[in-house]
């Protein structure tokens, strides 16, 4: 039986990974000094996330942006597009204008907009499976994991290090709180919900795109959490290993959208029955 995933899908995913690997090599070699490292790091991330946004939105369009199958990809695509806008602003300031990017700044606003859109996309996709699998258990587990991690973030990170830190502004405090809370409540919890829904489904091609999205969302959440922590202590700089988390995280989300569009093409999916 054919897998249903086109060769071009794997080529595009491979290209996104290759761009990230190339950037990692350039950063490791410190080519062009500090400016070169910032350029390699910023430009690769903008390229990969921009490619992901364009292709996710194309998949949404092909699946029908107003249908229950295409709508989740539209939301995820818009979230990724918002992240791309944040990245583009960041790159213009740091690489184009050679200035330090303020924290918090406009890029952070666009980065944060991605959270609710991705969450809405994943949750709407999961809810669409309600006719096939019971959603009670996935909902309870996701709430438990999200609530538990939010408590860990609050008591382990925000209360001792961010909220009571005298040297940081109110805006910094707010953004440094929104990043990790958004990660656990709007990225990890929906990903866990979807993971449980897919586990209940017990296999099949329809679960493949969502396993890719779940993996990508968790990587993005981990990168965000790391950035928030580093930015709070002024330790973040472009070229940090965290940067690869965002491009490597968005690549599987893009892969999921490409697979979903491939499955809508039965010629590629192969015969349903022999």
């Amino acid at each position: 039986m054919a897998t249903g995933v086109s060769r071009s899908t794997w080529w595009i995913f491979g290209a996104a990974v290759a761009i990230t690997a190339l950037a990692a090599v350039l950063v490791a070699l410190q080519l062009g000094g500090e400016a070169g490292v910032a350029a390699a790091s910023d430009i690769h991330e903008t390229l990969v996330v921009g490619l992901a946004a364009a292709l996710i939105l194309r998949s949404a369009w092909r699946l029908g942006p107003h249908t229950s199958v295409g709508r989740p990809w539209l939301l995820i695509g818009l979230g990724t597009l918002s992240y791309f806008v944040g990245d583009a602003i960041w790159t213009i300031i740091e690489v184009g204008m050679r200035q330090e990017v303020p924290y918090p700044g406009w890029p952070d606003v666009f980065y944060l907009i991605e959270y609710p859109l991705i969450a809405a996309g994943i949750l709407s996709a999961g809810l669409a499976f309600r006719g096939l699998v019971p959603l009670g258990r996935p909902t309870r587990i996701a709430l438990l994991v999200g609530g538990g991690l939010a408590a860990v973030v609050h008591f382990g990170l925000l209360a001792p290090f961010v909220l009571n830190e005298p040297g940081i502004s109110l805006a910094e405090r707010a953004f440094s709180s929104l990043y990790p809370l958004g990660d656990v409540l709007l990225m990890v919890a929906p990903a866990v919900f979807m993971l449980m829904v897919m586990a209940s489904l017990g296999g099949g091609k329809l679960s493949w795109p969502w396993f890719a999205v779940i993996g990508g969302s968790i990587v993005v959440a981990l990168a965000d959490a790391g950035y928030s922590w580093l930015a709070t202590y002024d330790l973040y700089q472009s070229g940090s290993f965290i940067d690869y988390g965002w491009s490597i995280g968005h690549a599987p989300i893009m892969l999921g959208a490409l697979i979903a569009a491939d499955l809508a093409n039965p010629a590629r999916s192969g015969p349903a029955s022999s």
Binding site: S68, L132, L201, G204, P266, S273
Partner: protein, 80 residues
């Protein structure tokens, strides 16, 4: 070939064996039959149930492909 097996076989690549089986059983239950008692006369009901269950999650073209295969097998007299 029993029609229930053909439906399971057509749906399994998309939704896995468990949900494919649930889809067949749900249709049979609705008709007051067991899965193995489903026949070609029940194809319309199976078609409608598959569309209802998979419609929100599967691309329309993929559903049509699975159902077309079933209809083709029925026309060829493949079901016992």
């Amino acid at each position: 070939m029993v029609i229930a097996d053909a439906v399971r076989h057509a749906l399994e690549p998309y939704v896995g064996p468990m949900v494919a089986d649930t889809c067949v059983r749900a249709t049979a239950l609705k008709l007051g039959k067991t899965a193995d008692e489903l026949g070609t006369a029940d194809l319309t009901e199976l078609d409608s149930n598959v569309r209802k269950l998979l419609g929100p999650v599967a691309p329309q073209a993929a559903i049509e492909e699975a159902l077309d295969t079933l209809k083709r097998l029925a026309r060829e007299g493949a079901f016992s």
